[in-house]
């Protein structure tokens, strides 16, 4: 997706996150697990936009959302 805007933040819903590791599978330079096996963002620019979309889609509990600045979050 060349030219597509990159997210300005990635929201992790910690209550929903079950620690499956799917996000790390698809975007290992962006996500890691903390001590509670919850997803955390370690580098928002760590992976391609395509990899981020895969991570969001693959999350088994829908706990991830890409946030764009224009959405005013």
């Amino acid at each position: 997706m060349p030219g597509a805007p990159r997210p300005t933040a990635i929201h992790v819903d910690r209550a929903q996150c079950m620690g499956s590791g799917m996000c790390i599978m698809y975007a290992a330079n962006t996500f890691a697990h903390d001590d509670e096996t919850k997803a955390v963002v370690i580098d928002i620019d760590g992976d391609s936009l395509e990899a981020l979309h895969n991570a969001v889609e693959a999350c088994p509990t829908g706990a991830l959302a890409l946030v764009y600045e224009s959405e005013g979050v």
Partner: protein, 417 residues
């Protein structure tokens, strides 16, 4: 083949891990046709329709898997990516069990476990084992069990110039890895595999002394994780897992961990060995092994169907599903949905990486998927490292795929050197 193997009794492995043998006949082990053309036809007819997957395919044998036979319920089957995706994403409507799971007083079976739980109960119990199966834990599995198993198995046939990888390699790795992580001695590994689906009570007798020992003296293994885990109940009070809870986990983990990866690794190896140009490319550039494995998960998942129970009435892709009915998600068909993948029947390792249902989806997505990937990656890399010139045996029958609800390669005869 009369190879001797100091690790496992290969004749016994061959019997237990025979797709068409008595152990797997119930799940359609005798099926030898290609189901994919039929699944394409069924998806085209309707993405969701009344009926059971194998009966819709014209298979009249009395076979089954998850969610079958359940003769007193209405049955529906889903064949498109969108339908399976919608069901996976709504576990409250599409439940993993028709009734609440009671591990404590219920019967010891593979399904009376985490597999069938829902909502908060599933979340609490899964959280106990999830940390041991995360991507960051793959190295723990590789260093403690996978690496040594893989190399010990190759030691057994390296000098012979030939091997039957389905039995001598693929079948042995997962069963030795998961039983090793349970602290079960190698000479009992096959007892575990034999009893896990047929005589759960006998399996519990095998692990009972190990559970007791680990309660006293924890070790660096999975069973010690279970004996020292605490689970919180609905009121927030915490307790150590009871023996019944540990046996329930053990049955599920040993069953899921000792069979699926065997078949999936065999499918991956067969897909590559049958395409020498793909095997050569992967051997030359090991970065290609990951897309090769992921493409295998899409192209032919070993378990192509899982089921859900309707907790309430629902509409799915135009089909009304009444409360209490069973939905069979044909993820094998969904993984080749042309609406999601171009040329879906082609095994193409150059596809852009994209999520598949090879390990299922939703909150019950395969717990062991990162361990399975580690087993396949370490195993195939080691074969490529140690067996130069690895190729299908030109004088033997080429491998074929079989099985309906548990698919795998029939035999993988190779030569090398």
């Amino acid at each position: 083949m009369t190879s001797t193997n100091p690790i496992l009794d290969l004749d016994r492995v061959r019997e237990i891990f025979d797709l068409a043998g008595s152990y797997l006949v119930w799940t359609g082990g005798k099926y030898r046709d290609d189901p994919y053309p039929l699944w394409h036809d069924l998806r085209q007819r309707a993405p969701v329709q009344p009926g059971v997957v194998h009966q819709l395919m014209g298979v009249t044998d009395d076979i089954g898997f998850h969610g079958l036979p359940e003769p007193d319920r209405e049955h529906f089957s889903a064949f498109s990516w969108a339908a399976c995706d919608a069901a996976y994403r709504d576990p409250e409507t599409f439940a993993s069990s028709p009734e609440p799971v009671d591990v404590e007083s219920g019967q010891a079976t593979i399904t009376n476990s985490l597999l069938s739980m829902g909502g908060a109960q599933h979340r609490r119990y899964r959280a106990l084992v999830q940390p041991s199966f995360g991507p960051a834990r793959a190295r723990w599995w590789i260093e403690n069990w996978i690496d040594q198993t893989v190399h010990a198995l190759i030691d057994c046939f390296e000098a012979q110039g030939r091997a039957e990888l389905n039995v001598e390699f693929c079948a042995a790795i997962p069963v030795l890895t998961i039983t090793g992580s349970f602290g079960v001695p190698v000479d009992q590994a096959l007892d575990i595999r034999e009893t896990v689906s047929r005589q759960p009570d006998a399996l519990i007798e095998i692990i009972k002394p190990i559970v007791a020992a680990r309660r006293e003296h924890p070790q660096n293994d999975l069973i010690s994780v279970l004996t020292h885990s605490e689970v919180s109940d609905e009121e927030g009070a915490t307790h150590r897992l009871s023996d019944a809870e540990i046996y329930s986990f053990s049955l599920l983990l040993l069953a899921a961990g000792s069979g699926t990866t065997w078949k999936q690794m065999g499918i991956a190896l067969t897909a590559m060995l049958s395409r020498p140009e793909v095997l050569a490319a992967v051997a030359a550039d090991r970065n290609l092994l990951r897309p090769a494995i992921e493409e295998t998960m899409r192209w032919m998942p070993t378990d192509p169907m899982f089921s859900r129970w309707l907790a309430q009435d629902a509409e799915l892709e135009g089909q009304h599903l009444p409360k209490g009915s069973v939905l069979h998600m044909c993820i094998g068909a969904a993984n080749r949905d042309p609406a999601r993948w171009d040329r879906p029947d082609e095994y193409d390792i150059s596809r852009p990486l994209k999520p598949t249902f090879g390990f299922g989806g939703g909150p019950h997505v395969c717990l062991g998927q990162h361990v399975a990937r580690a087993e396949m990656t370490v195993g195939i890399n080691a074969l490529l490292d140690r067996l130069p010139g690895l190729r299908l045996d030109p004088d033997a029958e080429p491998p074929t795929f079989g099985g309906l609800y548990e698919r795998g390669a029939t035999a993988i005869p190779v030569v090398f050197g």
